[in-house]
Subunit: 296 residues, 2 copies
């Protein structure tokens, strides 16, 4: 499976321009032979909203969503899958920081961010469901968005459900790390990949938006915890492509006697899900969902 | 609080020599003004046993334990606390890969490793209790041993109980990391510190034992996930000292609106303890335990 992570320079509120940046990246990824293209968090709206009204003006319902529709056209045209963030207007009238996976058969997965960062809570409501899991080319794929990835419980629960590739659209505001140290978000991502023996793909923003610098570091991390793409610098935009073997994530052994999953002491501790796992939006990712897009 | 991590060169089976190495390091740490001295896993017995008989010959009961007794003498003499690993013969006749915290008042904490690495299961039985928590100079301190640290559930549960400093005696066998990459064990430790906003101190082995090279990387990691001591190289032995502010771990805020602990979505997932929390060895760390050592 060839994965392309796209580090984009977006402008908050410029839906048309942002979607065009996404299209450009998806086409470039297709030309590189990508099977899966990953875009950043809120890739259609941008991130640094100045008001709820501005955020609301950027949001669309998931059914008939113009961003997802464009992705579906490109997915069909180039026979690939696209995962990226979009600004969702819920059927309940609330805004969600969401991500979708779209392939030639339709929308395969929608997930609403569960852990909101800083000012996001002024604009967005939280999701309360783990990401659905969909199969792409035989690989089990799920989504987490940005700050979600910093909660090991979440990644563990997805790994326990068999996820092999966790796709992470993100907008990591730049923070100050000591000289020669990686951003802590990337270190946490590496640890989560290695702890669970899964692939983690990350697409962040590059450049600056309304005075906010981004971390960059878009990359793909192997199940051993090491990046297979040198993390992109904060000043870079563009795509980076790598071939991965999702099935490597099905082998959790670390020695002849040790296994990352079985070695957990479930007799002593356990991560439990507190809620039933219905899908968001009344959406079942196990069915093919062309109808989901027909309404646009 | 001044913390000294001691990276030692030990020899399996040489109890006298290993204890002497421990004493030497503790005295050097005392001369550096240390309040807490951390020694590696199985610091009295060494690690690379060739048979169960050999391991058994190195084990002593925790009550009246010669290693802990020596630490108590040094702790009293230099007014400091010592945490380190020792080879424990349980009251049930089984061997445990254990660690203790000893201060001038006596043994404050005993913990038995819960996650055994590779051949260890041929020699040791597993513990089934989280580390007790003891207060040292007002700081809440607990212990994890080596592979334990790679299970985020364990660290999370200790952080939820208020642990500010997690002391980790370890013996990390060297593994191959890509060029310019840190050992994954250290990356996981950094992520665990930052995920929970706690201090993590690590004392590993240096040099080689029966053909096994060690990772080194003894260090102290701050609640932001970054080492405050440059991790020691695998070829180094000796002590490294740093001053820490344990109370930094009581502030879990990361932005004005975000908190590492409160931001967990306990309505969606939760780490639960499956067992009652009695202490190992009928041992209650909240009482002063001079009596525990009187039997030696």
């Amino acid at each position: 499976m060839r994965v392309a992570v796209c580090q984009l320079d977006l402008a908050v509120g410029d839906l048309q321009g942002n979607r065009a940046s996404g299209v450009q990246a998806i086409v470039a990824a297709a030309e590189s032979g990508a099977d899966l293209v990953l875009l950043p968090e809120l890739s259609d709206s941008g991130y640094v909203f100045s008001s709820l009204a501005e955020a609301r003006s950027c949001a669309s319902p998931s059914r008939g969503n113009p961003t997802l529709g464009e992705w579906h056209d490109l997915a069909s045209q180039h026979d690939l899958a696209i995962i990226g963030g979009f600004c969702e207007l819920g059927e309940d009238g609330k805004l969600y920081n969401s991500a979708a996976c779209v392939d030639p058969t339709g929308v395969r997965l929608i997930y609403r961010k569960m852990h909101l960062w800083d000012h996001e809570s002024e604009f967005f409501s939280v999701g309360s469901q783990l990401s659905p899991i969909c199969e792409l080319m035989g690989a089990k794929v799920a989504v987490a968005i940005c700050y979600d990835l910093e909660f090991p419980e979440l990644v563990r629960l997805l790994a326990l459900q068999g996820v092999e590739l966790l796709a992470v659209p993100t907008n990591w505001p730049a923070t100050v790390a000591p000289t020669d140290e990686r951003p802590i978000e990337l270190i946490k991502a590496q640890a989560s990949a290695a702890t669970n023996g899964i692939w983690i793909a990350i697409a962040d923003r590059g450049m600056t938006e309304r005075g906010v610098d981004w971390t960059g570091c878009s990359t793909v991390i192997a199940p051993d915890g090491y990046p297979v793409i040198t993390p992109l610098s904060a000043e870079q935009t563009g795509i980076a492509v790598t071939d991965i073997e999702p099935s490597r994530a099905s082998d959790k052994s670390v020695t002849a006697r040790n296994d990352l999953i079985r070695d957990r002491r479930e007799d002593v501790y356990r991560v439990v899900v507190q809620v039933d796992p219905p899908q968001p939006n009344g959406f079942n990712c196990e069915t093919t969902l062309e109808s989901f897009l027909d309404q646009r």
